[in-house]
Symmetry: C2
Subunit: 421 residues, 2 copies
């Protein structure tokens, strides 16, 4: 017997037929003798609808009332899943955020979970009842409904798994696991059996959107074992999730001895970056701070930064990337800072992409970056910027070369499977 | 300064534009110096949508989970109205059933309010904040969300008005008051300035669906003054509700001295009745009990009952009415009771209507019923059954004559206004 959390996203909850299919899947785990808590998202599209209402109702935006409205999406699906489970003969009840309670701080609309009281949950699970918990929501210190921000249901699931000391947190998604790269680009991408938290964090942060980054960070911190599985259920399949071929996300220690493991775990890409260059910035102390301080002040995340060596004129060019969604705000801020920074021209380019190779194996192996640079150079792909972390090397290239670069690197690091995925 | 409850139905909350218009109306009362609590329904159609989901999800129907799902409709509109009020500069917050709390019993899906804690509400209102409260919902003894049954928002409003000792409970509806009869049938129907609780109860129970019957009963018990007003707001109108021409629903004592008052307050009609006749029922003790006991056992309300005088054969015919919605269940029960009752044939007729004259003045005046019978006979309208209460006389007639009967009676009792309403 294991204690597991199962988390289902909005696509899995979109309509009664799908909710019934989720119920069947939960029943399999219960029938296998497991204690199960289920965390659910709102029906696909519902949160957008509710957010739209709030925006229309008020430009002032009181996040506490916003939370009252948007938390209803998950409340509906948790009640419906409890009903669907009952109709399959599985004892079940919904537990809303304020009922457990799931305590959060007062940062409404992007609250952080502070504490989960598991007394009621433990009692329910021990009695053989399935606990259905709306994701994304909690209750703040002043007893008002709070939400965790978009995509927060993954975080809810991991936090609940940690609090109830679950053996596993199974996240059911549109894909059936984490792949070495996007199979739509590289048909011979391989599904990974195991990936470390850190690798998953790097992959998520560079565009492999299987899990919300925050939930992976929480899992790493609390040691929750996450399994990524496909939500497309074969009704004739009687397998429980511990025998399904998903991807486990675990700590370094669990895969330390895996001799078969590749040096590189995966290749990720991200087309949502924009490149900004300031030319002829005075090459003197404080110049760079005057560029990035005003951006930080308005919460714009700057990613790859390159400062060229100074020209003979005593000035330099500074290039960096920001998310495309923040580009116009960033340009606005930089225009205003022109006199202060003293740059000559401000140019930007959205036709860029970031391609990254990720893997914990990198720590103990030299030469990973040079393999990357050589492979790209051999195909005539120009590198516009480079950034590295302990387990990742990213390059910025012209957007049109994205798929080519991903394929070239997938082959260069020996990740291609024998057959197409 | 007065303390008032304003209640808005689903039509008033159907979309952000309408919610904004409600907010403007609330603002007028606040600007006039009133302390205001607002009770809201779900957006028109939303509760039906949620009920549909529940029915699809489970035929077993756990009313506790049903309540979790359907209570979200009012949660959404209460958050949105709070936002809309804030954007007009009116301090406001939503108070969910579990937050006040509004305590109910455990009869989920048709719960009764047991207690409302007004400490938080008093503090909020005294600080000048508008309290927006979702109607229809509360929290049961075991801290689960409960709902009061369809149309429960009127009851919520009256219960909250009673608990907070409000000076008035203003119910905004699709009509602008209570009329002497349906103005679509009698254009010269007059709007009543005042009507007693008992009259309103009788009018509601015979088809004048302005207010939920239960809410009127509660208002009578607790002495809450209800005002029925139109929810169609003229944005250029700066009047507060105490000067608007709605209908006040009050106690007998408040209208006791009204010399201008008509003998009859109104004429109501109801086409949702069905007539059932059992022929040749043995005319002996206990026979009638054997008919009505099995109907009562399955909660079918029987209304008008006539037992004809016994035939020479020692048997009699028994006729009564049930709501049309219950007809097939009633026939089913009666078929099964055939041997026990010993009747000969079972016939039914849905082409009937009940027309009623209602008025507290009846108590002190004889001749009300005979005026009715004479007026109907003069136009050749046959009376199939009669029932009376202290302040009401109802007759069952052929459905096709309904509008004619209503017009004839409206004139016979001198209710016609000088001009069309």
């Amino acid at each position: 017997m294991a204690r597991i959390v199962m988390k289902f996203g909005g696509t899995s909850m979109a309509g009664i037929e799908r909710i019934r299919s989720v119920a069947a899947r939960v029943k399999r785990e219960v029938s296998a003798g497991n204690q199960v808590a289920v965390v659910v998202s709102a029906m696909a599209g519902e949160t957008d609808r509710l957010v739209g209402f709030c925006r229309e109702a008020s430009s002032l935006y009181d996040a506490r009332e916003y939370d009252v409205v948007v938390a209803t999406g998950e409340q509906v699906t948790s009640g419906l899943l409890a009903l669907a489970l009952q109709s399959l003969g599985v004892p079940a009840r919904s537990w809303l955020g304020w009922q457990l309670p799931i305590r959060t701080n007062d940062a409404h609309a992007s609250a952080r979970i502070e504490d989960i009281d598991t007394a009621a949950l433990d009692a329910a699970l021990s009695s053989g009842e399935v606990a259905v918990i709306p994701g994304f929501q909690g209750v703040s210190d002043n007893d008002r409904i709070s939400t965790l921000g978009r995509g927060g249901s993954d975080t809810s699931a991991v936090a609940i798994a940690a609090a109830m000391k679950a053996d596993r947190c199974d996240i059911y998604t549109d894909v059936d696991g984490v792949y070495t790269t996007d199979p739509r680009i590289v048909p011979r991408a391989r599904k990974l059996k195991r990936v470390t938290y850190e690798e998953m964090l790097e992959l998520a942060s560079v565009g492999a959107k299987v899990l919300q980054t925050r939930s992976v960070g929480l899992a790493m911190k609390t040691g929750v074992r996450i399994q990524v599985l496909s939500s497309f259920d074969d009704p004739n399949n009687s397998a429980t999730a511990d025998t399904l071929p998903g991807t486990m996300i675990v700590g370094d220690d669990e895969i330390g001895d895996d001799m078969e493991r590749q040096l590189i775990t995966g290749i990720a890409h991200d087309k949502n970056e924009a490149k900004i260059t300031l030319t002829s910035v005075p090459d003197k102390p404080g110049a760079v701070a005057r560029i990035f301080s005003p951006l930080a002040a308005v919460n714009i995340n700057v990613d790859m930064i390159i400062q060229n060596i100074a020209h003979s004129t005593g000035s330099t060019d500074v290039t960096f990337t920001v998310p495309q969604a923040e580009l116009s705000r960033a340009l606005d801020v930089l225009e205003k800072a022109r006199a202060d920074v003293g740059y000559e021209t401000l140019v930007h380019d959205t036709k860029v992409a970031k391609v990254s190779v990720v893997g914990v194996g990198m720590r103990s192996h030299a030469g990973v970056a040079s393999t990357m640079f050589t492979a790209l150079a051999d195909r005539g792909i120009n590198i516009q910027a480079i950034s590295t972390s302990e387990i990742k090397v990213s390059v910025l290239i012209e957007e049109d070369y994205t798929e080519l670069a991903v394929r070239v690197l997938h082959t260069a690091y020996g990740l291609d499977a024998e057959e197409a995925a």
